[in-house]
Amino acid sequence: MAEAAVQAGCRFFAGYPITPQNEVPEYMSKRMPQVGGVFVQAESEIAAINMIFGASAAGARCMTSSSSPGVSLKQEGISYIAAAELPCLIANMQRGGPGLGNIRASQADYFQAVKGGGHGDYRLIVLAPASLQELYNLTMNAFDWADYYRNPVMILGDGILGQMAEPVEILPYEPILELPEKDFVLDGCKGRKPRVVKTLILKPADGLIAHNEHLQEKYKRIESELSLCEEYQTTDAEIVIAAYGITARIAKGAVRMARAKGIAAGLIRPITLWPFPNEPFISAAKTASQMLVVEMSHGQFIEDVKLAVNGQCPVEFLGKGGGWYPTEEIILEKIESMAAASATAVKGKL
């Protein structure tokens, strides 16, 4: 992720140490000076996100990374960045919570990332990679989406993704969008009128209402243009699993095992968590007989799945927080029990 950011032209990184993401600032502390960039070990996550606020307003591609407790501290700053419509990348390698929790992998910050976290009506573009290659690729894209939409982007990973090793092809950066000129940058008002980056809107009296409407229009546009999802064997699936990130990767194995046992299982893996890819769920709800949400939390992501499914199909749940993670076998067991229950139910009707 760190190298992808460097490749994509990220030249400012600020962060505060926290496991399980220390590899990122450590790498950046060495790499940034090599490419003429800036690395600052901030005094706190609060300071780090506010350094990002300044660096982004100064025109730099910039990022910060942290893990759950640290991301909680960043929330005020994230709200300001979203309100000021500044681009940046924030990575959260989630760990077990609440509180200090533990340093095992978790997906319990879904609500914080996708539903808000900070104050006010704002949205982050939230990306959930399931492999290091995807993390690498999405990191590059994230900078483009951030610049294109002038919106902060969050990569919502977890402790496993943050600390595992697997081969990654280091691809050169290619912009995926035609990027707008950064006409908001504060670089001194030479030859132009002074610019202001601010989020306080007192005048006119309805100015903040208008700004909120403007933001909501932007969010609607993002929702209509950006939605990424992987579907695996869903076409004929009776039981469709919904999972994201590392959990989806484990679930894919379970789908394979279920298929080998003659159970028609499939998987929907959202890659963007916001915007949430509703369509695959709407279609699957029409064809599948049951859905199963698997997540490393006590049920956050499931709320969006249920909203998309809208009662068209029963949704089962398998998940726990605190550092629990599913194995392929645990998921398979759940699929088998769902398949058995459905067979009994069918018999009951006969």
Binding site: E43, A58, C189
Partner: protein
């Protein structure tokens, strides 16, 4: 001859400050310095959360408005990305010495090449007169109604003294704007703090003791007396660090 015309660095907008408030004078001094150094077109200011939040309505240069207490962190990001630009923060006592103490100390200790204008009016002006970290011992505020120090509030926090132990700091001076002589001295200090940044010398902070007649519930004349008699005793004026 003192300059009696409006400097180009200030807009024509009428300020929202109360009569007798120190912010207006300090704005004028900062603006004159930016003007005299010829740096308006390469200066980026940060606005605090406090009575000076509308700084951008009054200053004719690029401004970024920050979350409460975070200007030194924002300025760090801003300056590191554009080392050739001039970046200043303008902060009240609540902003700089309560909620933003950590950002202040660490920006100072890193020796960030920025200029900090610290307006100490010993009160939370904007929110209506609550106790500030710099509220004097025995002083009334809406959250220290029996006088500060009676109920475990501790003594006032002295920012220049606190920061003077940091080796990363270039320049610290405490000034005031309660007499003409003080105003002239404050301007000299502010100019030096900007010149240090131009010369790449590092973190410079000028503390300015300032009047808040409204929340002190004093007349404008009595507020000036309060700075001269009470505040200058608790917060002695002078140069605390000069490594320039």
């Amino acid at each position: 001859m003192p300059n009696l015309t409006r400097t180009e660095v200030l807009t024509d907008a009428q300020t929202h400050y109360c009569p007798g408030c120190g912010h207006g004078i300090i704005h004028r001094l900062v603006a004159e310095v930016i003007d005299e150094l010829g740096i308006r077109e390469k200066t980026i200011g940060t606005a605090p959360v406090g009575c000076a939040v509308l700084l951008y309505d009054y200053f004719n240069c690029d401004i970024i408005e920050c979350a409460h207490g975070r200007p030194p962190a924002v300025a760090t990001g801003m300056k590191r990305v554009q080392p050739d630009k001039i970046v200043f923060t303008y902060q009240g006592d609540g902003d700089l010495a309560a909620i933003g103490t950590s950002e202040t100390i660490h920006a100072a200790n890193r020796g960030e090449n920025i200029t900090v204008i610290f307006v100490n009016n010993a009160i939370y002006g904007m929110t209506g007169g609550q106790m500030a970290p710099t509220t004097l011992t025995g002083m009334f505020s809406t959250t220290s109604q029996d006088g500060r120090g009676e109920h475990g509030e501790g003594p006032p926090l002295k920012v220049c003294e606190l920061l003077s132990s940091l080796e990363g700091v270039c320049y610290l001076e405490r000034t005031a704007v309660s007499t003409p002589k003080d105003v002239i001295s404050a301007k000299r200090a502010i100019k030096k703090a900007f010149q240090n940044q131009i010369d790449g010398k590092g973190f410079s902070l000028v503390e300015v003791l300032s009047m808040c007649p409204t929340d002190w519930k004093l007349s404008t004349a009595k507020a000036v007396d309060f700075v001269n008699n009470e505040m200058k005793t608790a917060f002695p004026l002078g140069v605390y660090v000069d490594r320039s």
